[in-house]
């Protein structure tokens, strides 16, 4: 499994580079910032694959306004300065019509000032809600932001599972803290104050104190924001050992492939919010099947958003009749009811295209689609 995956990744990496170098005359260039090295390198490959799948499909149908799309990828090294430098290299080229940014919110924050200066559209995947509240008109999000993951977790737990006593376990990094705040907020709107809000520092070897705190709090359900799958798996194992068996609704990492590998049986029966699930819609299903055919890897939320981002950019260019940034921007805002792999896109004036999440369940190792919960824009 590891070998085939590596071969597939190598093949796709080479192809991407080949795409990069093939300077076909008059291609429409889309600049993509992705981690090709560093801890997130594997997910970076997936993100590039998703965009490539979309670009190839569009090109096969004749391209956009008669021109072929070309993806130009720059490595952000999974760091903030790396993202800034990668983005500035793309801007420096001068020929990118638009950009696809990072899935990591801190990196998107770092690039934001330069995006403003470049005055061109960027689609990004980071879920920090503040990213669309900064008044930056050029940034558009292709995944539902964390306020929605929190709303969905709360809605599902309170209305569907009917649990009133909550324990929130969250990483103390940006992602975890924001998620926690959003969840506390959503529960508050339902008139619920959590029994426990427990943060932890990433990459902890032992979660006994956290598990014991959950146990002691008398909570009936856990809502969680784990960043790293290793932490999640350790927590899951120790929770089971110490007899914590209450339902658990987690942020997307709980259903990501690494988590399933590491956690195994300790994650059976858990729920997760997932922005992408192959069974959530026909578009998602088609995307996932094609993705597997091309890359021999199960699709997850890394390629799905870049796939959508590429398609949306193509629509934006078509709607604008060209690559004029301002026109593109308006065209994208005008997109309503567009079916992407992540869901139905209705862009609001802040730049958020998605307003809901899928709830999925870990059924003895298989991820089963449960339902989709959407909120009005």
């Amino acid at each position: 499994m590891a070998l085939t995956r590596r071969a597939a990744l190598a093949a796709s990496a080479v192809t991407v580079f080949a795409i990069g170098r093939a300077r076909a005359a008059d291609t429409l260039k889309i600049g993509q910032v992705a981690p090709l090295t560093g801890p997130a390198a594997e997910s970076g490959r997936y993100q590039v694959n998703g965009a490539k799948q979309a670009a190839d499909a569009i090109n096969a149908k004749g391209g956009v306004l008669g021109q072929q799309i070309e993806l130009v990828v720059e490595d952000d090294q999974t760091t903030n300065p790396g993202a800034v430098l990668a983005f500035s290299r793309l801007v420096n080229r001068g020929d990118c019509a638009a950009y696809i940014g990072s899935i990591r919110s801190t990196q998107v924050h770092a690039m934001a000032p330069d995006v403003l200066k470049a005055a061109k559209v960027m689609m990004f995947g980071g879920t920090d809600p503040t990213l669309t509240q900064m008044g930056n008109p050029w940034m558009f999000r292709c995944r539902p932001n964390d306020s929605y993951s929190a709303k969905v977790i709360a809605e599902f737990g309170v209305k569907s599972l009917e649990k009133k006593k909550w324990a929130i376990v969250h990483s103390t990094d940006a992602f975890g803290t924001n998620g926690m705040k959003a969840l506390v907020d959503s529960l508050d709107k339902a008139g619920i104050k959590p029994e426990l809000v427990q943060g932890y520092a990433n990459q902890a070897p032992d979660f006994t104190p956290v598990v014991l705190a959950v146990k002691q709090s008398g909570a009936e359900v856990i809502g969680s924001y784990f960043t790293f799958e290793t932490d999640l798996a350790v927590f899951a194992r120790q929770a089971k050992q110490l007899g914590v068996t209450i339902p658990w609704i987690g942020s997307p990492s709980i259903v990501a492939t690494p988590a399933l590998n590491l956690g195994g049986a300790t994650l059976y029966g858990t729920y997760g919010v997932a922005d992408f699930n192959a069974d959530s819609s026909p578009t998602a299903k088609a995307f996932a099947e094609k993705y597997y055919e091309l890359f021999k890897v199960r699709a997850d939320n890394f390629p799905s958003w870049t796939y959508d981002a590429t398609n949306i950019l193509a629509r934006g260019i078509t709607g604008a009749g060209g690559t004029d940034p301002e026109k593109m921007r308006k065209a994208i805002i005008a997109i309503k009811g567009f079916n992407g792999a992540e869901g139905e896109y209705n862009f609001d004036e802040h730049g958020d295209g998605l307003h809901g999440y899928n709830i999925v369940r870990n059924e003895k190792g298989t991820i089963i689609f449960d339902r989709r919960i959407d909120f009005p824009a």
Partner: protein, 591 residues
Amino acid sequence: MTATPLSARRWRGVPVALAALVACVVAVQFVPAQGYYLNILMQAATYGIAVIGIVVVLGYCGQITLAQAAFFGIGAYGVALGTVDFGLNFFVALAIGVLLSGLLGLLLGVASLRLGGHYLAMVTISFQQILTLVLTNWISLTHGPDGVPGVPRAAIFGISFAGGEAYLGLCLVVLVLITLYSWRLKSSRLGRAMQAVRDNELAASTSGIDIFRTKVLAFGISAILGGIGGGLFAGGFSYISPDQFSFPESIVLLTMALLGGVQSPIGALFGTTLLIILPEWLRFLRQVYLAVYGAAVILIMVFLPDGIWGWATQRLRRTPPAPPEVAPLPLLSVKGEATDEPVLEIRGLAKHFGGLRALDGVDLTVRRGTVHALIGPNGSGKSTFINVVTGLYRPTAGRVSFLGQDITYAAPYVRNRLGLARTFQNIRVFRGMTVLDNVVVGAERPGNDIAEDPEAVTERALAALEFVGLRGDAYRMVGTLSYGHQRYVEIARALASSPACVLLDEPAAGLNMTEKQELGVLLRRLKGHGLTILVIDHDMNLVEQVADHITVLNFGRRIADGDPRSVLDSPDVIAAYLGQPQEKQGSHEAA
């Protein structure tokens, strides 16, 4: 850096710096206002400032630091929080951040006092980790892991540096000034003190250097530079988050310093630029780049310990001009006479190491203008004695007074500043410096008559070297001298500090016959000028040649004390050395 022709000292480096400033201001006009090149240069400039901080504390002072990213971060957060949350002017916020950074650096310096090597590494790592945790978790103050967006660029008195070129220009100007400062620091008194501490802490302390103050200052300066770099970084990139100032970043900064050459600010800048630009050029190596990084560190340490720049400048080193002639040591114009006045008085000195009584109640008086020899079989406590008297060990009991002052518990550098100088049995010179600089360290000890005048200091040092016959070797690295000559350098260092009393610990050890003869002559000359000398040695010929008074130790106790003839003939002494009384062999007339 060796001492240069005396008159050019004050303006050294300034013309080059001015030229660099002009070049920067001009070059900056050609840089685009935003984008890739601007970002690279800003990163190189701000990191470069922090890396120069490492040069000061590690290169000059030999103290390892793995916390430079923490100070970089404090400066950055000072600017970010100051401007964004508190609405302060950029420069005010920068000052606050740098001040805080400096204070914490001083604190770290205090921690370094008793520890070195891996302990110090751990202290700095711990500090770094704790700071990262605080930045991440003290959300109400630092915004936590979200970071601080929207940091504005500098502005003051209506001049705004918001534009790309202007801000880069600001960073470059600061960088040039800091490079000039640190380059000149190396050949300043503080810089030499740092290098002495790095090369040989014990010798530095007995040469009048306050080790504590020096190390603390080194850390403080390093932290301040880190803070300045970080503050400018924050303004440049307008968004900061805790993960940018974590332990891996400290490693990156350290590697930049090592690659270029940790002894030199220019080398450090070279290393910084290389390590920022290389990844951009070698993007096809990106996958293995970090691994190459790690391998590079090992290779640098093994093959290029002075870094690339250091290695290059070594190849290009020109032979310096011959050292100038100078006026002789003032000491030599004194006609001295032996008197009864006690210069060094020791009463009941005891030093116990657990059960071992190395010194067991020793009395000794060294009188002005005499050569007093302390002899005894191996293990009798002679070296312990001199170490207690010079302050390297604390006595268990007893009293030491020097020129009427009680120095029993005084720090070594205090004793030196009162006029007590020493040499070591196992030679302790400062291997990283030239012969001249080694002696200059002695000459510029605070309290010396000419200590505040750099030109006079150099003259004094040359005079001391002249006295021991090594003036011609002044600009050589001290490690290239023979063992015997290194000993002379130590003696010259002691003499240059205008001592009232010199303690020589086995000065003849390792010298050949001729050199011992010369040493004897030298000691008698010194005596002739009224210098007071306490000599420890085994060589009976030498002792007989020069001593006016001999004290004999055995098992930590004094077993004989008096003029050479009576002491050497005493049966106790003979028994202690030879195990049994013996017929005298020939006469022992002094040569």
